[in-house]
């Protein structure tokens, strides 16, 4: 470790302790020292991540490595308690359900022509799950393909129908919207013509944009025919519609990130430093 790095590290530690002590003085209650430590810790971890804007450094790497470890354990624990204890144990054993304090859901799976006891059926994902862990043992690693095959088969079987229903059929049916909204003839249309957001013209124009936009967007994705002539012009409109979509998505993403940043800055200036109320 270089001398400069050591000095910086010592200064950071000093500021941490100082911040902890000062923060503890501003918090009321029995857990003031603990609460002050946690707020200071969260603030220093926030600053450690933000230090990456200057350049990659040891404090960022520390926070990054900590995040990886904590995240992996977080998802393991949540998965264990919500799925294994919450959904598997109640179907597997009465004793285990009692031990974990969850209601036993034992019973039978009735196919009409075949009846299977629940516990027997739910040994299948346990065995397949255990096989998945064999990936860590090279000699029997090939067995991990079995659960993978199950996951792939389930995904394919269930999503074939679901996507056909939600992403294909319902999207197409929602595209066929009336192009003449609240229509009472041309006289009525021109007499009441306006660019009001809730007006008749805007409603009709919006439906036209949706219908033509979807058709032109799909034409752009159709690569079996050369994009020339009228087909090419429609494809060009499709590109424009897609560009507006990407622009809108981009704008929303930027806003989301900025609001997260505002959240972190609020935490630093309000919860930690107490500068803003």
């Amino acid at each position: 470790m270089k001398r400069t790095s050591l000095i910086v590290f010592a200064v950071v530690c000093l500021i941490f302790v100082l911040s902890w002590v000062l923060k503890a003085g501003t918090i009321d209650g029995d857990n003031a020292i603990q609460d002050a430590f946690l707020v200071t810790l969260a603030s220093f971890l926030t600053l450690a991540i933000m230090s990456f804007m200057y350049k990659d450094n040891a404090y960022y790497k520390f926070a990054e490595h900590l995040f990886v470890g904590v995240s992996a354990a977080y998802w393991m624990c949540v998965g264990f308690w919500s799925t294994i204890v919450g959904n598997l144990v109640p179907r597997l054993s009465e004793g285990l359900s009692e031990a974990f304090g969850v209601p036993y859901l034992g019973g039978e799976l009735d196919f009409g022509f075949l009846t299977l006891p629940y516990p027997l059926l739910y040994f299948i994902p346990i065995i397949l799950g255990a096989f998945l862990l064999f990936r860590l043992v090279p000699k029997v690693g090939w067995l991990s393909r079995w659960p993978l095959a199950f996951i792939v088969g389930t995904f394919a079987g269930l999503n074939l129908v679901r996507y056909l229903r939600s992403d294909f059929m319902s999207q197409i049916s929602s595209t066929f919207v009336p192009l003449l909204v609240d229509w009472h003839g041309f006289g009525h249309f021109f007499a009441n013509f306006s660019l009001a957001a809730d007006g008749q013209f805007v409603a009709m124009f919006s439906n036209l944009v949706i219908f033509l936009g979807v058709v032109c967007g799909l034409i752009y994705f159709f690569f079996s025919k050369e994009h020339t002539g009228l087909f090419g012009k429609a494809s060009r409109v499709g590109i424009w519609i897609l560009m507006i979509t990407f622009g809108a998505s981009f704008g929303y993403t930027v806003m989301g990130r900025i609001s997260l940043l505002v959240g972190r800055l609020t935490f630093l200036f309000k919860d930690w430093l107490g500068i803003i109320s």
Binding site: C77, L128, L136, Y163, I258
Partner: protein, 223 residues
Amino acid sequence: MRREIPLIITISVGFLAILSFFSPPFEPLGEDFTLFFDIIAVFAFFLGGGNLMRVHIDKLIKRKKDWGFSIVTLVGFLVMLVAGLGKIGAESITSDITREGLFSTLYYNVHLPLGSTMYALLAFFVASASYRAFRAKNREATVLLIAAFIILLGSTPIGQMLTNWMPEGMSILEIPNLAVWIMSSPNLAGQRAIMIGIGLGVVSMSLRLILGIERTYLGKDSG
């Protein structure tokens, strides 16, 4: 054996899952398969944790570059794991770990700040990316620029301030209304075209998997 059994599993599970939509006696099977899927996914989390431990212990033992940070990962992982699985600090075995105990404390004071700052940091990188994207080099890039600009302006008070002088009969031209219109009309049309494309892609890929044509998920020696 190494190839055939996984193929049989995929094909039979795929067909049974489809059957669960069309045949009432098989209907519960669809729900059970979804639950099986979730249970196996939890084992995948365990596999991920095991792999993380293996990689970082290996890095530590071999004293590879930045091995010191592997200690941070391992300590963070083990402390969070023990706190979560052991429900340390929670009142009882039935307590929700995301609401009380050491696990919850670590989540709100370590995991959450780290995660949200990590994503917040992307705001700066998005800003630099937007500088490149927002240079109106051609007509398509200009359309993207205008759409993004209206969406951003429409969600801020300045957007309202700039155009609130518009008469009622032209209210669609007010920036916040224009932003809403972009989201609900051209953006919807574009999203829908993409969704239909994705739907067709998923259906064709699912068919390829269930019919055993697509075998790349089985690995290199899948034939």
